[in-house]
């Protein structure tokens, strides 16, 4: 269960969004929409706790959040399996046996991640989400570079494994994921020049 109340967040010290409120129940998904530069990435990073909020609260079960973006921590000189095992160990969880199959990585399991194509690497990054056992996912454009088939793999994973087990997700994307979920357009929440709380506020 994720509850966001009256959140304002900033990028580079400048308020970008303000007054964002929503709630996502367990087993639910929220899709963030909005034109380039509206602040999706900023919002997701704030939700995941990677940057402090200007004001407002983000509430979800402690130690259950996970953030994933383009930079998904895949090491080029480790194999696919080594990459996944590492993250499983860090999170103290076991790697599910079928996770490679879920993301169609079985034939690639012993390949160095650096030799994967863009889409294959992306699938590996997504497979990490199935390994760390976190319930609250914050995903920034998870399907970049994926072909239609892989997008479906991802949607299936999300629906059948993550949400079915009581997980939830907030996803920023520009494309249609094939998941039936409420959407939130961020355009109305764009911070005006008067938004308070910027780190440079004392100077105005």
């Amino acid at each position: 269960m994720l509850t966001v109340t009256d959140l304002a967040c900033a990028r580079g010290g400048v308020p970008v969004l303000s007054g964002v409120s929503f709630a996502v129940p367990a087993g639910g998904v929220l899709i963030l929409r909005g034109p380039n530069g509206v602040g999706k990435t900023t919002l997701l990073r704030t939700l995941a706790g990677l940057q402090p909020a200007l004001s407002g609260t983000v509430d979800f079960p402690e130690d259950q959040g996970a953030y994933a973006s383009h930079a998904d921590g895949v090491k080029a000189t480790l194999t696919v399996t080594e990459n996944l095992t590492f993250w499983a160990q860090v999170h103290g969880s076991r790697m599910p046996d079928d996770i490679l199959a879920t993301f169609d990585l079985e034939t690639l399991r012993d390949r160095m991640a650096g030799t994967l194509s863009a889409g294959q690497k992306r699938r590996l990054g997504l497979a990490r989400l199935g390994v760390i056992g976190r319930k609250v996912l914050f995903l920034d454009e998870p399907t970049v570079s994926l072909d239609a088939f892989s997008v479906r793999l991802f949607a299936d994973f999300l629906r059948d494994r993550h949400l079915a087990q009581g997980g939830l997700a907030v996803i920023a994307t520009h494309i249609d994921l094939g998941i039936d979920a409420p959407e939130l357009d961020l355009t109305p929440f764009k911070a005006g020049p008067q938004t308070t709380g910027g780190s440079d506020e004392a100077f105005l």
């Binding site: 580079g12 010290g13 400048v14 910027g198 440079d200 506020e201 004392a202 100077f203 105005l204």
Partner: protein, 246 residues
């Protein structure tokens, strides 16, 4: 009203505005009096000859070089604990002043060393630890310059300042240790101040006062400039993206 209110940027700009010219005036007066007195009106030392006149620059600048770092340390702690922007900016503003003081101390010391010790530079503990202080200043300034986001820069330079202070003290001790083991040491002693006669002592005090005042004036002025820069970038940021110039 809590004393911290004075650290609000707007308030700070308000109460420092009338102060700066007075401080500069006072500092200038002290320096002129002290230096003229010291340079023209004091006798030569029987042993050091006219080189003793260098003391009026060397000692105050060496004092201020150390005190500037001390001030930065305190300002950094205040920033980390209470997050008052002005204290972070004051630390930033003080660093270049500290460097110049260090440079003056180093240079005057070096040209004094040539006639006194027969060498520009020796790896005496005091000189050496000063050189290390100079390096700390350089690193601190470079870190400020390298980081774009001002709050991040303030945080990181503060941490550096604190850790650096610990290591500066440690090196001071290490250098002492090192030189006792190897160096004859005697020729480098600098304990003359204890014996300095009053003729030298009073103008020296005036000069020290001048340096202290000049330091305060410069730091205030530069802090005000830094505040304005922050305000400027804040205003520019808020007018984005409709129009951006300069």
């Amino acid at each position: 009203m809590s004393i911290w209110e004075y650290a609000n940027p707007k308030k700070f700009m308000g109460w420092t505005a009338p102060l700066v010219p007075w401080l500069f005036g006072l500092a200038g007066a002290c320096l002129i009096v002290g230096l003229v007195w010291g340079f023209f009106l004091t006798p030569d030392d029987y042993k050091q000859g006219s080189t003793v006149k260098i003391i009026y620059l060397h000692v105050p600048s060496a004092l201020m070089a150390i005190n500037a770092w001390f001030m930065m340390l305190i300002a950094s702690l205040i920033w980390l604990v209470r997050r008052h922007h002005v204290s972070a900016l004051a630390a930033k503003a003080a660093a270049p002043v500290g460097v110049v003081m260090t440079l003056i101390a180093l240079f005057t010391g070096a040209v004094w060393g040539q006639p006194m010790w027969g060498t520009w530079w020796a790896w005496d503990p005091r000189l050496t630890s000063f050189l290390i202080l100079f390096l700390f200043y350089l690193g601190y300034i470079a870190l400020w310059a390298a980081i774009e986001d001002p709050d991040t820069a303030a945080d990181l330079t503060s941490v550096l300042c604190i850790v650096g202070s610990v290591f500066a003290v440690l090196s001071r001790y290490a250098v002492n240790f090192w030189n006792q083991g190897l160096h004859q040491g005697a020729s480098l002693s600098m304990d003359k101040a204890d014996h300095v006669a009053n003729v030298f002592y009073i103008p020296l005090l005036v000069c020290i006062a001048g340096f202290v005042l000049l330091f305060i004036a410069l730091v205030l002025l530069r802090t005000r400039t830094e505040i304005r820069v922050r305000r400027m970038s804040a205003l520019i940021a808020r007018t984005r993206p409709t129009e951006v110039t300069t």
